[in-house]
């Protein structure tokens, strides 16, 4: 490995006179690869006398008589080390990324982990770039305590959902604030019809580190938008030294991670449907025109196109095996005064569902320049284009599963038919619709395509006025253009018939400009007093332009563009918001032992009522690094130890831009005239949602290698911005109000062990576990509310957030074969307290969705060139509502919907049957309505990632004039080690809603990484 150098610089500035007395010599070696470190600095402690190592890592240094005998060895990227000077030394420097006192990126700057009084977790580059994961949010799963990640859908490019320390809100976004290179950016879902993740525009390979700010001390400098936590992303920078070229290529295949959505085969479905029809006939006492149940059933089965044979395996056809490829090249390097990092990336992921695809082209240029010794400049530019192809999905949890979606097609596909007939023509296989899924999934006759072009640019200057005082201006431009094109051709279900094809484009242009201007002061005096402070001003403007055009009545099915159809709709809209902030932060420590800090930030936002516009947020924090106390120094086992506490406030803005204004909408038409109508009532008192945060924690490091961190947190959120129900006599059914209070509290524990065995086999382990309790504290007027799809979340004071509110399903009565529900769920099961129709049963809170306990366990074992990485994630105490299975356990009621495989052989046919599914009845008995029948435990332990890498020995690579050559194989979502519920994807968002979207994929990917 080439370690190229600071050393010219050191030769010029560092070396003063040499008064030779003692001679020290030796070699400096990197622990990581056992190779000599070229250009490492060797300095006599307390002086500027020193040298740098040569191309073989060797040094010699004459030490003056009166100087210290301690030498300080240091090198960029490696941990500094002190050793006593002697001849023939062998100094091993370990990598500073494993350093326990790392420097982490925090709000508006950096901090040493040891001196940081807040709660923040830092994740490094190598943990973030997981092949087959296209956006960094999804790579965080299991890696930070208190941070939970889930996707509503496994389609590539869809949004991951990050929630920091619980559930931030009842009806507004619970997503944290993302800050990229000092600039808060827009994130989240920008397509209302399909999940589409703006973060996927950022290539995870370009990320140097990611910090999650969890408590108020860490996050309140971001004030108004920090209530859901803050995720700070720092992109890679060039390092001083020779050109470093890195090439990376990955190729992978994927398939459904769980055995989800398995349906009955043709014979099973035929038998089941026949019985359902016969039972219907019998229960009804006959159907006119038919003489026997059998007659009736056969006639109906024939009408439905069912026969008693096994046809296509539609699940295989629809959810074909996905595949992916990923290519990256990065070039970085620089001189002492000028550094650069540039990269290009291409990623293509074909999803599980036929016709879903995600492509990204990305490029980064980051430059750092010292223009003068008092002035430096950073320029960062990221350009990316993503192209996501798929279908409408259910990520917004609207009721129903679209019949043109992959799952809708699977449910409707006739299991006794094949894809094509003997003449090679596509059979009509969708029950009741007579269309072939081919036309829905071929990517030509129907698609929903989201192209997103994004440019992020930063221009930063830092001015050093004096040694202690500096000024930094960070100016960011975040431009994105999302172009969404949806087409339903005349051959498809929705575009068929009299519609003759529908097409729609949506174009969003978003320009966010940010300027933050901060003065920083940093001084140590009388050796033991250390003070740093910052104060500044920040503004952010956001401008969004939206146009939509829609057409129908296409003149051909061969061309999908809008000009081919007749216009039906055009919309256009421009929105703006603006935020102005003053912020300040002071930290003081005495002797690196006692630390105190305070933040304050005042925000003014255009999104609030004129009188409520200003919000002031603050935090105070302190810590005691008790390991620095002399009485602790003796306890050599504890090499570092700290107690810390913080308290402070954070805020959140409404999602709506103009929620405070009484508005008339102008988009109405009446006859041939225009019409206007009231769209929202006045709410001039709409103000900040505010959370108060308490955090108490301790960090202990044993024997330099075992690091423990335990934290208790409590976040109490009041003035929740909610849609509060009002009488419709006001003209509105809800109004946006500050009302209601919720709390989240819990415990986060992390353990990090570095080189735990201290042997040739290096074992690093990271373990995290979080406990969470999220509660509704107060609701407007104390009134409970039912929200969500089918109003099945119950919000009741004192109860858990995301409490499921359903009739209680008891099971199948073995004598009658009927489903049984508790009439009154507060009373026990008895003959009087049973109904067979779920709509006649009372609802109650039956389970909570979010998991009580969650976390991850990562192990890395390194031996010679081999490195094995195993990540487990787990969660316990949560539940999910299995919406897809609700459709597929319809007990015969839905004529054109296949039944779940688990029903086969497990449904009631005769008295005495002890089974899980009731007697089928084509007329429906209310047995299949929403109830606890579809509420399942989401407990699991999952083998989330497993990776094996092999680095070619330098003896081989150096002959080929190469640097590192690493081969790797990585698998994600390989299996559940434990799953409370079988054959189901259990990773669901905290709200426990298992949507009808494509479940997560398991992927196996092979890659090679070459640098030179």
């Amino acid at each position: 490995m080439r370690r190229l150098t600071l050393f010219l610089a050191f030769l010029m500035i560092g070396v003063s006179y040499l008064a030779a007395q003692t001679k020290a010599s030796g070699v400096v070696i990197s622990a990581e690869d056992n190779l000599p470190v070229i250009g490492a600095s060797v300095v006599i402690k307390g002086t500027t006398i020193g040298t740098v190592t040569d191309f073989d890592g060797n040094f010699t240094l004459d030490i003056p008589q009166d100087a210290s005998k301690t030498l300080v060895f240091s090198y960029v990227g490696l941990q500094s080390k002190e050793e006593t000077a002697k001849p023939n030394m062998r100094v091993v420097l370990s990598s500073s990324s494993q350093s326990l006192d790392e420097v982490i990126v925090v709000a508006y700057g950096t901090a040493k982990k040891s001196s940081f009084t807040g709660s923040a977790a830092n994740v490094k580059a190598d943990a973030l770039s997981v092949p087959s994961v296209e956006s960094v949010d999804k790579a965080l799963a299991g890696k930070v305590s208190g941070v939970r990640v889930a996707s509503t859908t496994g389609d590539p490019g869809s949004a991951g959902e990050i929630q920091v320390r619980g559930i931030g809100s009842i009806s507004s976004s619970t997503s944290p604030l993302y800050v990229i290179d000092g600039v808060p950016v827009e994130n989240g879902n920008f397509n209302s019809r399909a999940s589409s993740n703006i973060l996927s525009s950022l290539n995870p390979n370009d990320i140097e580190s990611l910090t999650v700010l969890k408590d108020a001390a860490a996050a309140s400098l971001y004030g108004s938008r920090a209530a859901n936590g803050v995720v700070i992303i720092t992109t890679k920078k060039g390092k001083e030294g020779k050109v470093n070229v890195n090439l990376q290529a990955n190729f992978g295949v994927s398939s459904m991670a769980t055995n989800s959505y398995e349906t009955m085969n043709g014979i099973e479905y035929y038998d089941y449907s026949k019985l359902a029809l016969m039972n219907y006939y019998n229960d009804r006492g006959g159907v006119s025109g038919f003489n026997s149940p059998e007659d009736y059933a056969l006639a109906q089965l024939d009408k439905r196109g069912l026969s008693r044979v096994n046809g296509e395996d539609w699940r295989d056809y629809i959810y074909k095996h996905g595949q992916e490829q990923n290519y990256q090249v990065s070039i970085s390097g620089g001189s002492a005064k000028s550094k650069y990092y540039t990269s290009f990336g291409y990623q293509d992921i074909q999803g599980l569902a036929r016709g879903t695809d995600f492509k990204r082209y990305s490029g980064v240029v980051n430059l750092n320049n010292e223009l003068a010794d008092w002035l430096s400049m950073d320029v960062k530019t990221q350009l990316s284009k993503t192209d996501q192809k798929g279908y409408r999905d259910q990520s917004n949890q609207s009721q129903g599963i679209g019949y043109g979606t992959p799952l809708g097609l699977l449910q409707q596909a006739n299991p006794s038919k094949t894809l094509k007939n003997e003449n090679g023509e596509y059979n009509a296989v969708l029950m009741g619709r007579g269309i072939n899924p081919y036309y829905e999934l071929n990517g030509k006759d129907k698609f929903l395509r989201t192209e997103n072009f994004r440019a992020l640019g930063n221009l930063n200057f830092t001015v050093k006025f004096t040694k202690d005082l500096s000024f930094k201006t960070t100016n960011g431009v975040d431009f994105s253009n999302a172009f969404i094109n949806e087409y339903w051709g005349p051959n498809t279900i929705d575009g068929g018939g009299s519609v003759k094809g529908m097409g729609q484009t949506d174009d969003y242009k978003v320009l966010a400009l940010t300027s933050s201007n901060i003065f920083m002061y940093n001084k140590s005096f009388k050796e033991k007093h250390n003070l740093d402070a910052l104060a500044g001003y920040e503004v952010q403007s956001y401008h969004r332009n939206y146009t939509q055009a829609a057409v129908s009545n296409y003149s051909t099915d061969k061309l999908p563009d809008l000009s081919v159809g007749a216009p039906s709709r055009a919309l256009g809209q421009t929105d703006k918001k603006f935020l102005q902030s003053f912020l300040s932060n002071v930290n003081y420590n005495f002797d690196n032992k006692y630390y105190v800090g305070a933040n304050i930030r005042a925000d003014r936002s255009s999104q609030l009522g004129a009188d409520k516009r200003t919000g002031v947020f603050y935090s105070v924090s302190g810590s005691w690094r008790f390991s620095q106390e002399s009485f602790m120094k003796a306890a050599s086992l504890i090499t570092d130890g700290k107690l810390r506490a913080s308290y402070g406030t954070n805020g959140r803005l409404p999602d709506s831009f103009y929620g405070h204004l009484p508005l008339y909408n102008f988009d109405g038409i009446y006859g041939s005239n225009s019409a206007i109508y009231p769209s929202q009532p006045a709410n001039k008192d709409l103000g900040w949602e505010q959370s108060k945060n308490l955090n108490i924690g301790t960090d202990i490091t044993l024997a330099d290698r075992f690091n423990f961190s335990l934290e208790y947190f409590r976040k109490y959120t009041s003035n929740l911005i909610m849609e509060v129900p009002v009488s419709s006599s006001t003209g509105f059914t809800t109004v946006l109000q500050n009302a209601g209070e919720i709390s989240n509290q819990g415990v986060d524990f992390e353990f990090h062990g570095t080189d735990m065995l201290k042997s040739k086999v290096k074992w690093n382990a990271d373990f995290s576990i979080s406990y969470l309790k999220a509660k509704v504290e107060k609701l407007p007027g104390g009134k409970s509310m039912n929200l969500g799809d089918g109003e099945f979340y119950r919000y009741e004071e004192g109860k858990d957030l995301y409490s499921f509110y359903f009739p209680t399903y008891v099971g199948v009565n073995p004598e009658t074969g009927l489903a049984e529900f508790l009439k009154d769920p507060t009373k026990p099961y008895s003959a009087d307290n049973v109904v067979n129709d779920a709509s006649k049963a009372e609802r109650s809170i039956v389970a909570k969705a979010y998991p009580t306990i969650s976390g991850g366990f990562n192990n890395q074992v390194v031996y010679k060139g081999f490195s094995l990485n195993v990540l487990l994630t787990y969660q316990f105490g949560g539940h999910l509502f299995n919406y897809p299975e609700y459709f597929m356990h319809h007990d015969g009621r839905r004529a054109a919907t296949n039944i779940s495989k688990d029903v086969a052989g497990n449904y009631w046919t005769k008295p005495g049957d002890v089974v899980d599914n009731p007697r089928p009845n084509a007329g429906g008995t209310g047995s299949d309505l929403f109830s606890t029948r579809y509420v399942k435990s989401s407990d699991f332990i999952r083998l989330k990632e497993i990776g094996l890498a092999y680095q070619l020995p330098s003896s081989i690579t150096s002959k080929a004039k190469l640097g590192n050559v690493v081969f790797n194989v990585t698998a994600t979502n390989l299996c559940f080690l434990y799953a409370a519920t079988k054959n189901m994807e259990l990773e669901v968002p905290l709200n426990g809603y298992r949507t009808g979207d494509t479940p997560l994929a398991k992927t196996v990917s092979f890659g090679v990484n070459v640098s030179f």
Binding site: V463, T473, Y664, N665, A675, S728, S729, F732
Partner: protein, 474 residues
């Protein structure tokens, strides 16, 4: 040099950031109320907004409410079950059901739209308020508000002429929603008497303001007077009902259909008989699509409102070539199903999708003739009852009309049933005349005071207004 750099950087940054006016951002497609309504022309747009709501939502006159009393009156047939409307026909509306909830919310919404516009109108400059347009618009808002209260009263309250009804019982009527209320106002129902007083007073007030000229897609003097006649009839004020109805018959521009234009009138905009007609827009964002009058009454749409065997036999019994109304029901077929449907909602000729564009005639001249006949009969004026009954019926006959003398209430109701089929009258006509309501598919009957003749007050409404009284039985 150094200072130059610094100041360059700093001034650049300040230039970029100093613009605090941006804190007052405004949407680009909507305006605050006071900026939205500054002239009579703006106020006219707000009035259009009221009518637009009626034209586009699934619950009001262009959709569910346009067929409500027919389905509950036992004359329609659930020919196809698309799970959209059949719960009305089957009397399965409970307090959580979305149909009564949408009735309540949408009528309340259009009433509130009227109140918002009336309040904005009060704030117009005196110069604008002095103009005639202002009076005409204000009159329409007041009349529309009264009509919507009347419609809510028909849905949620007992009709005043039902035997044994106490019109002064507390919370037996509907909410009197006559101003812009604070969003957290707690509402209570009025009595039936207060409700009908409010409706009648509102319509009378509107007559002092409205223009007698045609108001396309809106309410003029005679439309309001016709609605007033209907309100008097429902309230048992026979003399007043007759007087108002006669004024409309004599003085309005509307004239009865003829046998020549009877069939084509249904797809015409502003037909001869139309006194108040809502214009539907040929744009799926602005009409109720399949949940409209057209979609419910065809085999090609949801097809849930067919022709029941009972009334079909009456149409069947009409001799060919006599009463033109015989052809208002037809057997419709496609490859999947078949059934009898009313032929009133077959779309405007210019519509892209005929099923979606059917203007509801909220009140038309034929109904005013029935009102006149019924009010005359009940006030003891048999001659006038005969006159209006025969005048109307005669226009429906191609040949062989024989006048009826000494018409009875049953004669009037029987003809009304045929003429106004699928125009939201049948159950109301039975109930207010204290007649039993038959079931569409069984021999069961309901008394006029049966609890489920009414819609329940939706639970969402009693939840936010805990003092509001629910209808008994729900």
């Amino acid at each position: 040099m150094r200072k130059t750099y610094i100041s360059a950087v700093l001034s650049g940054m300040l230039l970029f950031t100093a613009c605090s006016d941006d804190l007052n951002t405004r949407p680009s497609t909507s305006l605050p109320t006071d900026e939205a309504i500054e002239t009579n022309a703006d106020l006219q747009l707000a009035l259009n907004g009221v009518y637009q709501r009626v034209s586009r939502v699934r619950s009001l006159h262009a959709a569910d409410f346009g067929l409500y009393a027919d389905a509950k009156g036992g004359d329609t047939d659930v020919t196809l079950n698309s799970n959209q409307f059949s719960d009305v026909t089957n009397f399965q509306l409970n307090k959580q059901h979305s149909i009564p909830k949408d009735f309540y919310q949408e009528f309340s919404r259009v009433i509130a739209y009227c109140n918002q516009a009336l309040e904005a109108g009060e704030k117009l400059p005196a110069s604008e308020k002095a103009k005639a347009e202002y009076k005409y618009i204000k009159g329409q808002l007041i009349a529309a508000r009264a009509l919507f209260h009347f419609d809510m009263a028909r849905l949620f309250s007992q009709l005043p002429t039902v035997e044994g009804v106490d019109v002064n019982a507390a919370q037996s009527g509907v909410v009197i929603n006559d101003q812009v209320f604070n969003v957290f106002h707690q509402f209570k129902r009025s009595t039936i008497k207060e409700t009908y007083d409010f409706i009648i007073n509102g319509l009378n007030e509107s007559l002092t303001l409205l223009s007698k000229d045609k108001q396309p897609g809106g309410i003029n003097y005679y439309a309001a007077e016709a609605l007033l006649a209907r309100a008097y009839l429902y309230n048992g004020n026979w003399a007043e009902a007759l007087q108002a109805a006669e004024d409309v018959i004599e003085n309005s521009a509307a004239k009865l259909y003829t046998t020549e234009n009877y069939l084509s009138s249904w797809s015409a905009t502003d037909s001869d008989e139309s006194l108040f007609e809502i214009y539907l827009t040929d744009n799926i964002k602005n009409n109720p699509q399949r949940n409209g009058l057209g979609g419910y009454t065809t085999i090609e749409g949801y097809g849930e409102v067919g022709v029941n065997a009972r009334i079909l036999s009456i149409f069947d019994a009409i001799e060919e070539g006599t009463d033109v109304r015989k052809s208002m029901v037809k057997l419709e077929k496609n490859d999947k199903a078949s059934g009898w449907y009313v032929q009133k909602y077959k779309g405007r000729p210019d519509a892209t999708n005929w099923m979606y564009v059917n203007n509801p005639k909220i009140i038309r001249l034929a109904e005013v003739y029935y009102i006149a006949a019924e009010a005359a009969l009940k006030s003891g004026n048999q001659a006038k009852a005969d006159k209006y009954y025969n005048e109307l019926r005669e226009t429906r006959f191609e040949n062989g009309y024989v006048a009826t003398n000494n018409v009875t209430i049953d004669d009037i109701l029987a003809d009304r049933r045929i003429e106004l089929f699928c125009e939201n009258h049948r159950m109301f006509d039975l109930v207010r005349n204290n007649k039993e309501v038959p079931s569409w598919n069984t021999d069961a009957i309901r008394k006029p005071n049966a609890f489920d003749i009414l819609c329940p007050i939706p639970q969402s409404e009693t939840d936010v207004n805990p003092d509001m009284k629910q209808n008994p039985g729900f």
